[in-house]
C-alpha cells in the first residue's frame, strides 16, 4: 500500500469571523503538480537551508499522517479512523477514501471537524472532475475487474500528476477551480463559534 495521490491545501484562517466576509486569498496552486502545497515554515531550526521544498513538506506530511493512522488503528482497532490533530499553531484534518486516497487539510486552530467537508470535496469535485475523464477508458476495455480497478487508480494518479497534456489537463484545472471556489466560499466555514 504505497502512497497514492496526496492532495494538500493550506487554507487561510477559517475562524468564525466569516461574517465579515474578509477571507484571505488562497495561496496560488500550481495547477498540475501532485502536491499543491503552499509554503511551510520550517520553524526555528534555521541551521539547514532556510525552507524545505514543497516536495519535502509533502513527504513529511505523508509520513506523519501514515504513522498516525497506523498508530490509531493499532490502538482503536482495525476500523478506527484518525480524524484530525491539533498543535498550538495549526490543525490538520484527514480523510481517507475507501480506495486509499488521502485528503489532508491544514487550517487554523479554531476550525471544527472538517471530515465531512473533505468527503464533499472528494465526492463532488474529485470524483466528478478527476474521474469522469477516465470512465470512457474503463468501459471500453473488457478486462477483469481487479485489473480495471488498478488501471483506474493508476490513471487517476497520472491525470493529476502530468502537466497539461492536452485533454487531461482540462479536467484537472476544472478540479482546481472548483476546489478554490468551494473553499473560499463563505458557506464553507462551519460555525466554529459554538461550543
Amino acid at each position: 500500500m504505497g502512497p497514492h495521490v496526496i492532495k494538500q491545501w493550506l487554507s487561510g484562517p477559517a475562524s468564525s469571523s466569516a461574517a465579515t466576509g474578509a477571507t484571505k486569498p488562497l495561496r496560488p496552486q500550481s495547477g498540475s503538480s501532485v502536491v499543491s502545497a503552499g509554503e511551510l515554515d520550517n520553524g526555528p531550526a534555521r541551521t539547514r537551508p532556510s525552507r524545505l521544498s514543497a516536495e519535502d513538506d509533502a513527504k513529511l506530511v505523508f509520513g506523519t499522517v501514515f504513522s498516525l493512522r497506523n498508530m490509531v488503528r493499532k490502538l482503536g482497532g482495525p476500523d478506527d479512523h484518525f480524524i484530525s490533530y491539533r498543535t498550538g499553531q495549526y490543525k490538520l484534518h484527514y480523510y481517507e477514501t475507501p480506495t486509499n486516497l488521502k485528503f489532508v487539510m491544514l487550517t487554523d486552530i479554531k476550525t471544527n471537524n472538517l471530515r465531512m467537508v473533505l468527503h464533499q470535496i472528494y465526492v463532488s469535485l474529485y470524483v466528478e472532475f478527476g474521474v469522469s475523464s477516465i470512465t470512457i477508458y474503463v468501459v471500453k476495455n473488457p478486462l477483469s475487474r481487479r485489473y480495471l480497478e488498478a488501471i483506474a487508480l493508476l490513471f487517476i494518479d497520472i491525470v493529476v500528476a502530468v502537466e497539461h497534456p492536452g485533454g487531461e489537463g482540462v479536467a484537472n484545472e476544472l478540479f482546481e477551480m472548483g476546489l478554490e471556489s468551494f473553499i473560499v466560499c463563505p458557506q464553507f466555514y462551519p460555525p466554529s463559534g459554538k461550543g
Binding site: L40, L60, S67, S84, R86, T87
Partner: protein, 152 residues
C-alpha cells in the same frame, strides 16, 4: 459536579502513557476498557513513534498569514479519532503525558494537570526514583488510581 452533568459528559479515561525526553516509555497504565490491549513491546514502539511525530509536527507549520505567534511552535496537543481522543501535555523538560479518553471528553486538560501534579508529588520527590527511568512508585500508582476512578 451535578449527577446529570456526569451522565451527559462521559469522563472515562482509557489509559495514561508517560514518555521521557528521549522518547522512551516510562509509564503505561490502563484504567478502563476501550483501547486494544497491546504488548509491552508495542507500547514501547508507540511511545517512540509518537515522540518522533510530535517533533515533526512542531516543525510542519503553515506559514502564518498574520505575524508569527511569539511562542515557540508546539507539537501535537490533541489527536482525535473515532474511538478515542488523545491529549498530550509536554512539560518544559520534555516529558510527555499522553491521556487517552473518550472521543467527546471536554476536560482532559484538567485531568492531565492533576496527573502532572501527582507526578511531581509522588515521582519527582521520591528520593529513590531515577530521572528518565521507568516509574515504579507505589504511591503514585495508588493516588493516580484513586483519582481517576473517582472521576468515572
Amino acid at each position: 459536579m451535578l449527577d446529570t452533568d456526569k451522565a451527559q459528559n462521559p469522563r472515562v479515561v482509557f489509559a495514561l502513557i508517560i514518555i521521557n525526553k528521549a522518547g522512551g516509555l516510562i509509564y503505561q497504565r490502563d484504567f478502563h476498557e476501550g483501547l486494544t490491549k497491546l504488548s509491552v513491546n508495542d507500547y514501547l514502539i508507540l511511545a517512540g513513534t509518537f515522540h518522533g511525530i510530535h517533533a515533526i509536527t512542531a516543525r510542519l507549520m503553515p506559514r502564518p498569514l498574520a505575524p508569527p505567534p511569539p511562542q515557540k511552535p508546539t507539537g501535537i496537543e490533541v489527536l482525535e479519532s473515532d474511538a478515542f481522543r488523545l491529549q498530550c501535555f509536554q512539560t518544559l523538560t520534555g516529558t510527555k503525558f499522553l491521556l487517552f479518553t473518550e472521543p467527546h471528553q471536554t476536560n482532559a486538560d484538567v485531568v492531565l494537570r492533576r496527573v502532572y501534579e501527582l507526578y511531581a508529588d509522588y515521582v519527582m520527590k521520591n528520593p529513590f526514583y531515577q530521572s528518565e527511568m521507568p516509574i515504579r512508585c507505589e504511591a503514585f500508582d495508588r493516588h493516580l488510581g484513586s483519582y481517576v476512578k473517582s472521576r468515572q
